[in-house]
């Protein structure tokens, strides 16, 4: 076995099938999308090369920048909510009663499909017989909000289920990481008189920084390219008030039939995601791994 793995050719051969598949369904389409973005194309007629015309249009496209702002807001909220998830995991990972059951409950949204979650929340947000508004009416609120129709609140109304959807995922990651923190360190700290807060903040969190960085990248990139719930629940409406970059791209491609411009948008989206990932890696880079 060792002898075989030392042969570079064999290694290359083994990599080949996966590499071919990846190239075929990911890398080549990305390059093609980049090329389509340089063309005026409605998906049917022959393409005409227009150079950077689409990107010029993109820079001046207010609707795109408002959707980009919404995506950034979602990314910001996702990152902030990571703190909450970390707090929940810290509690779960300490020895409290029922931690096991709670952990499973938090994971339930992860098991539901996006469309099911969307339908569920559509019912909850229903303006006249939804759960929230009925509750508010019972409390005596007269003008209950129109959650998904009011352009001022629709974006935040939709963020809530998105954050809820992924809570279990991050909690699970943090929980697993925290369980990996050696018991001895914690015990030693307790003997030295450290409080629970100090143990969490000074010992556990620093020990899982690498995991924190990964989840930060996941949350950022995941939010920037987010699509499902928004598409099902509002379709980006009313009038673009809940549009994000991915739903905007879909709308241009499949509703306005402007595939050239949509390709430019999606390529731009890819660039943004790459830059953001690189930025996070660069900003959070530490020279040495913390060890106790």
């Amino acid at each position: 076995m060792n002898k075989m793995m030392s042969n570079k050719w064999i290694i290359a051969l083994y990599m080949l099938p996966a590499l071919l598949l990846l190239a075929l369904i990911i890398y080549i389409p990305i390059v093609l999308t980049g090329y389509y973005g340089l063309n005026d194309w409605n998906g049917i007629k022959a393409m005409t090369f227009v150079g950077l015309e689409n990107y010029k249009e993109l820079i001046g496209d207010k609707a795109f920048w408002s959707s980009a702002l919404h995506s950034l807001l979602l990314a910001l909220f996702s990152c902030l909510s990571l703190i909450l998830y970390l707090a929940v995991s810290l509690v779960l990972a300490s020895k409290i009663k029922g931690a096991n059951t709670l952990r499973k409950i938090y994971l339930i949204p992860m098991l539901l499909s996006s469309v099911a979650i969307a339908q569920l929340w559509l019912k909850i947000y229903h303006p006249s017989n939804g759960l929230i508004n009925i509750f508010l009416e019972k409390l005596g609120v007269v003008n209950t909000p129109e959650w998904l129709a009011n352009t001022d609140i629709v974006l935040f109304a939709i963020f809530l289920p998105i954050l809820w959807q992924y809570a279990g995922f991050y909690i699970l990651i943090y929980y697993a990481a925290l369980k990996g923190v050696p018991k001895e360190v914690e015990e030693a700290a307790t003997i030295d008189g450290a409080t629970a807060w100090q143990i969490a903040y000074r010992i556990k969190v620093p020990l899982i920084t690498e995991v924190l960085k990964v989840t930060l990248v996941l949350a950022m990139v995941g939010s920037l390219k987010y699509f499902d719930l928004i598409y099902v629940m509002t379709g980006g409406g009313p009038n673009g008030a809940s549009e994000v970059m991915a739903s905007y791209m879909y709308r241009i491609a499949f509703k306005s039939f402007d595939f050239g411009y949509a390709s430019a948008v999606s390529f731009f989206l890819l660039l943004i995601c790459l830059v953001v990932t690189w930025l996070i890696r660069a900003l959070t880079a530490s020279k040495e791994q913390i060890q106790y």
């Binding site: 303006p127 306005s256 039939f257």
Partner: protein
Amino acid sequence: MKTQKMIVLLFLILTVVLAGCSSSNGGSNGSAEGNNQNESNSANPDPTSADEKVTINFMHLWPEGVSTAQNKVVNDIIKQYQDEHPNVTIKLEVLDNEQYKNKLKVLSTSNTLPDVGVTWAAGFLQPYVEGGLFASLDDLLGNGLGDQFVAGTTDAFQVDGSTYGVPLEFNIAPIYYNKEIFANHNLEVPTTYDEFLNVVQTLVDNGVTPIALGNKDRWTGSLWYMYLADRIAGQEVFSNALAGKDTYMQDSLLQAAGEVQNLVNLNAFNKGFNGLSNDEGKADFYNEAAAMYLMGTWELANFTANEEIPQEFKDKVGFFKFPVVSGGKGDANSWVGGPGVGLFVAENSPVKEQAKQFVAYFVEKWGEKAVTDAGVIPATKVDTSSVELADLYVELFNEMNNATSITLYADVQLEAEAAEVHLNQIQALFGNAATPEQFSEAHEQAIKK
């Protein structure tokens, strides 16, 4: 020895991967053979010779379970056709509405459209025709089939004077109302817009939602706007503005847009309509929480044949024409409506002639069965005396015959990009996020583009 084993294993894996890829290769080989066969076909002067085996691929959008009645009618017609033409096999592919649209788009990029498929009119059809993907059906219509259609219904499928699709459905949009709710509040069916506003006001005062609307889908609100534009500006002015023949910045169109916001501010529509889909919005009408509902005649089946809806409710449903606005240029017999979906034949189909014959047969049979079996109003003339029909149908057929003009849905009429602007602006207008001026200006720019 071990190395050899591993290499064998590796080749096994590679073969599996290649086999996975090759199924699509096999497919394209197959169609290439089909093309070869086609070449020999076209050499044959008589394409309909009975002994020749022909397969026609047909893609439609009435899946079983979603559009059960239509699905059954289609299957019946196909079975009948195959029985009468034993050499022809119809191969079906059925998709849901939105998926259908996307798939058609994808297939057209690789120029592998089905021989026969379903298309929408005007703005949807145009890029396909310009791309040379749809075959002209002029010969078919000139061959007697044209006379069977209700006058004007095939116009929306024309591009530069040639017809590229034959319509299957034809609809107009009346306002349905709940007779019981009207009676409870001593309301008469309004014939003028002032009376209509009075009805709305009375219902609001009594805590009843006047109108059920789900404007997340946007074309639903567009119907309301279109009628007001039609009644105030008149059919001709409105059509010209939509077609870009005249400016959109007209006082009468501004007034129509303003009137929409007036209705919104009167609380004429159900709460949160901009966030509700058509299905959610119309639930208020079906639950008898709302008194009126403006929708196309495709909804009729629910008020007549559909067995899942209680008879007591069906008996309460009536309809009226959109009222006339005093001082406006439109008249009460002018409708918003138009052909729904139609059939196309692919230009590069290897069995084009046979496909056309199938389309002609299909349209004819569809016309006979659609109303009675599926509650769909066909674009072909219906002999109301020979079939047993519910009163609502008969009344609406009469209205159709008396129609002075029928304005095609704005989002169908406009090209895709302008249609998107129109639909978004509708949501903005209804949500008071755009003024009538901004609304008209956005249209002016999008249409002139």
